[in-house]
Amino acid sequence: MEDEPLADLEATVATFTLDRLAPSLNPPVVAAVLDFEGGGRYQGELTDVDADSVAIGDRVEMTFRLISTVNGVRNYFWKARPKREG
């Protein structure tokens, strides 16, 4: 196992779900399994996305976001958003 930066690589949605039970200020939570170009997989959230339009094979890019804020503690990590600019 070695570290490889993935934040600037694009990825493809392998499977996904809409979690309507998880607490969120912007429900539903859209979760996806992502396969990065060149290899590597990550299971995480999609953001800035139309929940009803997500499909297997969608292209996404990583974006730095808040996963949660509880008792003032901000949990920063990466999510993915649909590839849109350029």
Partner: protein
């Protein structure tokens, strides 16, 4: 020669049409829309996104010696917020990271500090502007970030816009303030602000243009920005600049992004400015600051991607007002019967961010994206 070496911006995806506020509250409608940070964004995350664009524009091997993070809406006090930006941008651990937080004026302050630095220095300006429901700040504000790497140029990192002159005037008066922890700012009567800012702007602009050995009509682009709209209008009216030189303040598409706005507007000019163009940035906040730049031949080859216009074009403007209020926690809604998510614990977070490769810090700028790892099977 010192100036801008690279720049990048971030405008969040969602826009709230001002007519949506009017429709919900029965108030007179404003025009256009404002940019809205999503519920999973804050000034730190937006700063990272702008910083990623700016860092992409910088040649490999050029690392800023310091990061200055400016915002009027910091995620934390006491704890430095710039360190999260530093780690997310995978900067070397000998790059210093400092906050300049609390006031709108800290934005232009961070920019000036970066321009004064002897080595490449990243100024990240980010703000999230919200006021009381139905108020001017809610309607006219916007959320965005801008990141600008400044410093002396070099072969690998040429200057894109040279700092030609600067001037600053400081004044203490009460036209706008927010008590720490408060949700909204208090603003004195608008007419007072107009009265207070006009002479400060005139004095600073006159000093800067004199130092730049030019006149107002010699400016190709004039940016005047600040949280006091009447003061800005008065300064523009008295500037003597050609009307076509006045830069769009993005109020119709993004809103006034406060601390970030000087960086956002300067970036929007750099996105299109011709070589040799003379650009004046006037910031009216608790005084007046003026920075005069001249675009260089290198700019055309190093413009940011996405541009400000691309960010604006790629958003969606159908955010409903109830969702906006929910995101800002002005409207507290009942959630599912589920426990709160678990906060990260201090020590495990520390283990993770130091990287697991075991290499000593300085040569391993992989810490943050390392939290987003590629699995290499053994």
């Amino acid at each position: 020669m010192s100036g801008v070496l690279s720049y990048g911006t971030y405008v969040p995806y969602y826009r709230l049409q001002r007519s949506a506020i009017a429709a919900a509250l029965g108030t007179p409608s404003g025009k256009g829309s404002r940019a809205v940070a999503s519920s999973d964004e804050d000034t730190t995350t937006m700063a990272v996104e702008a910083g990623r664009v700016a860092m992409r524009g910088l040649a490999d091997g050029v690392a800023p010696g310091a990061v200055y993070f400016a915002t009027a809406d910091p995620a934390y006090l006491d704890k430095t917020n710039a360190t999260a930006i530093h780690v997310a941008l995978a900067l070397p651990d000998d790059t210093a990271a400092y906050d300049m937080v609390g006031s709108v004026r800290s934005g232009v302050g961070a920019l000036r500090a970066a321009l004064d630095a002897k080595q490449p220095t990243l100024a990240v300006l980010s703000d999230l502007r919200t006021g009381l429901a139905g108020g001017n700040d809610e309607r006219d504000g916007g959320d965005a970030a801008a990141a600008i790497v400044c410093g002396p140029g070099s072969d690998e990192a040429p200057v894109l816009a040279e700092l030609v002159a600067s001037a600053s005037v400081t004044a203490e008066f009460m036209d706008r303030w927010r008590v720490p922890g408060a949700r909204s700012s208090t603003v004195w009567e608008e007419r007072f602000g107009g009265h207070a800012y006009a002479p400060l702007a005139e004095q600073a602009l006159t000093d800067a243009l004199k130092a730049a050995d030019t006149t107002p009509d010699g400016l190709d682009h004039l940016i005047v920005t600040g949280p006091q709209a009447r003061g800005v209008r008065a300064a523009l009216a008295k500037s003597g600049a050609r009307p076509e030189a006045v830069v769009d303040d993005l109020s119709a598409t993004v809103g006034n992004t406060g601390t970030a706005h000087p960086g956002l507007l300067l970036s929007s000019v750099l996105d299109a400015a011709e070589p040799g163009a003379l650009i004046a940035l006037v910031v009216l906040a608790d005084g007046a600051d003026v920075l005069v730049f001249r675009a260089t031949d290198a700019l055309a080859q190093h413009r940011a991607s996405p541009s400000v216009a691309q960010w604006i074009a790629s958003g969606r403007d159908d955010l409903d007002y109830q969702r906006f209020l929910t995101w800002r926690e002005s409207l507290v809604r009942e959630g599912p019967r589920r426990p709160d998510p678990v906060s990260p614990a201090g020590p495990p977070r520390c283990v993770e961010s130091s990287g697991s490769s075991g290499s000593s810090g300085a040569a391993a700028p992989s810490a943050a994206p390392a939290t987003c790892r590629r699995h290499v099977s053994a």
